[in-house]
Symmetry: C2
Subunit: 346 residues, 2 copies
């Protein structure tokens, strides 16, 4: 538990958190099935130590439901453009609900066709990508997820937020746990910058620039400027390439025209791609033991004080610890949850 200027984190069990979110979303009119899927993804964010993608997002989701920007009980329209390319119109559904339909369809298809891609538009925020690609890996397939997001990141040489934080999710099955990459192409999330605003703590240089393009440590000036890409000009290049790739494949908006994941006023105009590649179908199963051995060698290659991890290791450890001991939830966020529960007579 950490203490900050707004109080001490509240320890909440994953089940309690999940039930609270379901109760609130159902109270707001969601079907039980939709509420459960959305709750699962939010709770996974908190369980894995990424509160920016956790229950903190609930208030915006509720606001969007109230404004008719998220629909429940929808049937996303899936159209197979070809054997391996699925177009999905999310019909303004919850992100996790639409993703569930897309992933079900492409994993079934990839089992026959080796590879299948879903191009999703008109869906709400997906949350963390790890749970989706893990779901694909769980059926023995490689999972890839790409999504665009609000333009919060500056191009290299600019102070204007023109590029999404555009995260990448990749899961590759092994003989044991999959390798799971889930990272944004920004140096940090805007949520973390805002945490520093709330606690009046400086941010490290490199996270963000002010509105004149100067790297800053003042989180207020940063929140008025733009997030920096991770890894300097290379990270910018990767981020904008994904921006244009995802926008073009899904037929969705670019740059600042993407709206509707952080606000409660606009239809979601970003896009999402999911890819499944069946190892069984492409003859890749004999490779699982080689991947396993390689990743073990990498984990054992440490030469410094910190352990060497493979993408997914730390999130898995944090998740296990929090499942056992409860999830530290920011007191303001928990207060919002309790208030919403009260509104729905709980």
């Amino acid at each position: 538990m950490t203490t900050n200027s707004v109080g001490t984190d509240v320890a909440v069990s994953a089940d309690r958190l999940h039930d609270a979110v379901v109760q609130i979303l159902v109270g707001e009119g969601a079907t039980l099935a939709d509420a459960a899927q959305q709750a699962e993804v939010l709770v996974e964010g908190d369980l894995r130590g990424h509160p920016s993608h956790g229950v903190r997002r609930l208030a915006v989701l509720v606001g969007r439901m109230r404004n008719g920007l998220i629909r429940t009980g929808v049937a996303p329209r899936t159209t197979w453009i070809s054997d391996a390319f699925l177009s999905v119109d999310g019909d303004r559904g919850f992100g996790p609900v639409v993703a569930g339909v897309a992933i079900e369809a492409i994993t079934r298809r990839a089992a026959e066709s080796g590879i299948a891609l879903a191009a999703v538009h008109n869906a709400n925020h997906m949350g963390m990508l790890a749970p989706y690609v893990e779901r694909i890996a769980a059926v023995g397939q490689i999972g890839i997820a790409l999504t665009t997001s609000e333009a919060l990141v500056h191009p290299w040489g600019s102070a204007r937020p023109m590029v999404g934080t555009n995260p990448v999710g990749i899961a590759v099955p092994t003989e044991s746990e999959p390798l799971v990459l889930d990272m944004s192409t920004a140096a940090v999330s805007m949520g973390k910058v805002l945490d520093h605003v709330a606690t009046s703590q400086p941010i490290p240089l490199g996270w963000a620039v002010d509105r004149h393009g100067r790297p800053v440590t003042d989180p207020v000036e940063a929140s008025d400027g733009a997030l920096s890409p991770f890894g300097g000009p290379k990270g910018y290049a990767l981020g904008i390439a994904l921006e244009v790739l995802v926008g073009t494949v899904t037929g969705t908006a670019f740059g600042p025209r993407k709206q509707g994941t952080l606000d409660v006023e606009h239809v979601a105009t970003k896009g999402d791609i999911f890819v499944a590649i069946s190892l069984d179908r492409i003859g890749g199963l004999p490779h699982l033991s080689l991947v396993e051995a390689y990743l073990q060698d990498v984990r054992a290659s440490g030469t410094g004080p910190d352990p060497v991890t493979v993408p997914g290791d730390r999130a898995r450890a944090t998740r296990a610890e929090r499942l056992a001991n409860g999830i530290p939830i920011n007191p303001q966020v928990w207060q919002e949850v309790e208030q919403l529960l009260e509104e729905h007579g709980a």
Copy 2:
């Protein structure tokens, strides 16, 4: 032209360089068609300002031909595992020759099926990825290229070279020039570190670590250690995810088991993936003007002294300038070329 401890760069026209490489490769027994394709990719490296992927690589290619590790006049074996998934056994052919066969096949297929992927094994070094994805973009398709490479990069927390420099190539068509990403997931190429060894210049902190894992500025200590991933732990996570993704999809080697792109002793055991997505087939053509407008907005968003560029812009400008004024070639490299030409009676 730059001057260093070994002399002044030699200005050579692209045509002259291309002809020299063709003459040498044909003299070494390559078919004219194979020699031309390999020469084109090497010259493109130099034309775009990436000598590490330019004619500097010729000596290794010649050594590999002499040792029977590169075959010429091969017919790569292509097997459509499914409608959209092509397996390519490169039969130890030149990388660019095998890539040409793969790209021809997947672009034709993608025109019908929307998306097609080629998983390549048993091919030699591809060189820069930009020319390949540009070729896909030139027929109105999105091109993606991923390849693994010799393990020169350390995992985060390790000093051991365990991960390839694993580059990513992405080209997305626009109404004018495509966006073209071509970047390795290492902070820098080993070629650049060796340039600093040759000229006894220190390297910037962050490029590499010594064999104890300490970030170093001494290029000799760096060449005895490992390259760092770009962008710290995030770049490492991306690099190893691509390592495992490409190795699994292509059925090729992982980590230090990858050989045969820098040496003249081993069969090439790395893998390559090419993906083509037809904008026409997936209904994406109306989006070209939106991409175009977005990228123009990005280019115009500069707030600092340096111009804001989109991936591909700088390489295009360098290429145009060098086509007009000649390519500066390292004098030692040029000497090697002249020596090889002499050996073949030119």
